[in-house]
């Protein structure tokens, strides 16, 4: 749908600029006239919400960096100074720390939306892979940022995560230790570690912004997928991005921001561990170390494996798996609306990820409250299902599942006229 431009400069200045730097043409073609499927639903508004959240995190983050001191003996106090003395510092910090949570909430909805409607399938594989890269960069950025307040959870999160690399010792003796000491700049997490984490936490969001540009570029070549998962056949299937989707995205963004504001103003500490208001102490590990909620499923996977190296491989494997999804799903039908079997496995995956998140928040030897049922077998089962969904179920379903008939076009499906149907899969 990256057709030729229909932009016509309206003023003399616009014409003058267009011949020198066609930036208004670019803006017009990508954000105004861009033909967009007319049937995009609520779940497609999260791309815009994510762009907004990235901007929000960068703006509040730059302001916080004006007051924050990345030194082990001052970091905690400087954050308290932001909270108590800096004008509106409490607001900026709460917007930033809770902004990370809402950024992840939006990205998870965005990812599951893509999985449900088959948005990763040809011709959008590169678009999907760029999205996975953004997600991994987000995880890295969030982890680095979590360390900065230098509370107990910050310190021990940094210790545990950097120690993941020491598992390399089991393949190449001493190499893992060398890597972890290189990451720390010492023999334990300390001042040099905090300093470099701050530097990288400031850098990565701009790299994310760069990959987001590629992501949107890759979106604008084939155009949006849509809830029916069928290709756009012509102008009757699309509407211009503006005003139709600018308005739709903006109104859902307002609802999302209201939810975000409720948490920022009324529940600002609901998503953090109280232990992070205790200054970092290298001699005492808190009774329970848990990551932020958005990383709990991966933490549950790590803890369910009793062997260090394999646990780490599973943890990273869960992310790497996402890169291969476009080729693991063998079905010619994109949208799960027309895939009765796949739809059930998809929802089981959603439940599985929520369950892993719940289990990740508890100690590995914990039992379900009020029962004597241990959690560990469920964490192992949940981990197995996550991998099975992508590596076994998706490839097999494409071969054995009979999809329901697909509508002929988006237009007929939306208007309900002339419902001529073609048999799937007719990719």
């Amino acid at each position: 749908m990256a057709g030729h431009s229909t932009y016509v400069p309206k003023t003399r200045f616009a014409r003058w600029l267009d011949e020198r730097l066609p930036i208004l043409r670019l803006a017009n073609d990508t954000m105004m006239t861009f033909p967009t499927p007319r049937n995009l639903n609520f779940w497609y508004s999260f791309g815009g919400i994510l762009t907004f959240m990235l901007g929000m995190q960068i703006v509040t983050g730059i302001v916080l960096a004006m007051h924050y001191v990345p030194a082990a003996n001052m970091a905690f106090d400087s954050v308290e100074n932001i909270m108590r003395d800096v004008n509106y510092g409490w607001l900026l910090r709460y917007m930033h720390s809770n902004g990370a949570s809402f950024f992840f909430l939006a990205v998870y909805i965005h990812i599951f939306r893509g999985l449900y409607y088959g948005s990763y399938k040809a011709p959008r594989e590169v678009l999907w892979i760029l999205g996975v890269i953004i997600y991994v960069l987000m995880i890295a950025t969030a982890f680095l940022g979590y360390v900065l307040p230098w509370g107990q959870m910050s310190f021990w999160a940094a210790t545990v995560i950097t120690n993941l690399f020491s598992s390399i010792d089991q393949i190449l003796p001493h190499a893992g230790t060398a890597v972890t000491q290189w990451l720390w700049g010492g023999f334990a997490v300390g001042d040099p570690t905090l300093n470099r984490f701050f530097s990288l936490h400031y850098l990565l969001p701009f790299i994310i912004a760069g990959v987001v540009v590629l992501h949107i570029w890759a979106l604008h070549v084939p155009g949006n997928n849509n809830p029916l998962g069928i290709d756009v056949r012509g102008p009757q299937d699309t509407v211009p991005f503006h005003p139709y989707y600018t308005v739709k995205d903006a109104s859902y963004l307002c609802l999302f921001v209201i939810l975000y504001a409720i948490v920022v103003f009324y529940l600002p500490n609901s998503l953090v561990e109280p232990d992070n208001y205790v200054p970092a102490n290298p001699l005492v590990t808190p009774p329970e170390i848990v990551p932020e909620w958005y990383l709990l499923p991966f933490y549950a996977m790590l803890r369910s494996i009793p062997q260090k190296l394999i646990g780490v491989i599973v943890l990273f494997g869960a992310l790497v798996t996402l890169l291969f999804v476009p080729w693991l799903d063998t079905s010619g039908v994109r949208s799960m609306r027309f895939r009765p079997l796949a739809k059930q496995f998809f929802w089981a995956l959603v439940v599985d990820c929520v369950l892993l998140g719940y289990l990740g928040a508890h100690r590995p030897d914990a039992v379900f409250p009020g029962t004597a049922i241990p959690m560990l077998p469920f964490a192992r089962l949940g981990t197995a299902y996550y991998f099975a969904y992508f590596w076994i179920i998706l490839p097999l379903l494409g071969l054995i599942e009979t999809p329901r008939p697909l509508p002929a076009t988006i237009a007929t499906s939306v208007t309900g006229h002339g419902v001529e149907q073609v048999n799937a899969p007719a990719e």
């Binding site: 020491s166 023999f187 590990t285």
Partner: protein, 184 residues
């Protein structure tokens, strides 16, 4: 330039090779400082050692001291704890190496090889799984329990159950007198 199939290197070839070589060497020469700046600096590496007076520590007690930014456990074991540890055959241990900096790398994880004097267990208090600090006198083996991922160590600091791959490390230390040790 005229099209030529001569095998002789041309001046253009020379410029290509020279530029690529200078660029490659320059890149490699610049890459190492950029990587190595993150490694521990000389001031951090300077081997620091500390001395510790053992006399206040009672049997069954443990004291934690800081060495090189890491906690070191100084534990005075009870005769029962020593006996329990000695009763375990080395062949039943997940990690059968002593991990004792005062002994050769190949030393076996017998209770004797984990200490210099049986009464005093000196350990780097960092779980070999992911670096948390284990809780002492806890877990099924009476030694240590790591709160992060549930690794359990016995009364000689040897891994017995859980995801940690190795025994707790024994740092380099020496007895200066019967009641004084030097760590490092």
């Amino acid at each position: 330039m005229a099209t030529t199939t001569a095998a002789e290197p041309t001046r253009r070839d020379f410029i290509h090779i020279a530029t690529a070589a200078a660029g490659g060497v320059g890149l490699a020469a610049l890459a190492w400082p950029l990587i190595d700046q993150m490694n521990p600096s000389a001031s951090v590496l300077a081997l620091s050692s500390i001395e510790f007076d053992l006399s206040p520590v009672q049997a069954g007690q443990q004291v934690t001291v800081m060495w090189r930014g890491k906690p070191v456990f100084v534990r005075r074991r009870t005769p029962k704890e020593i006996a329990e540890s000695r009763a375990v055959p080395v062949s039943s241990l997940p990690d059968q190496l002593a991990r004792n900096a005062n002994l050769p790398d190949s030393a076996q994880a017998t209770d004797q090889d984990r200490t210099i004097k049986p009464e005093w267990l000196i350990l780097v208090g960092i779980c070999t799984h992911l670096g948390c600090i284990p809780l002492d006198h806890q877990g099924d083996f009476g030694g240590y329990l790591c709160p992060c991922h549930g690794s359990q160590y016995d009364t000689a600091g040897r891994i017995r159950r859980g995801p940690a791959p190795e025994n707790l490390y024994v740092p380099p230390y020496a007895f200066l007198s019967p009641t004084r040790i030097k760590i490092g």
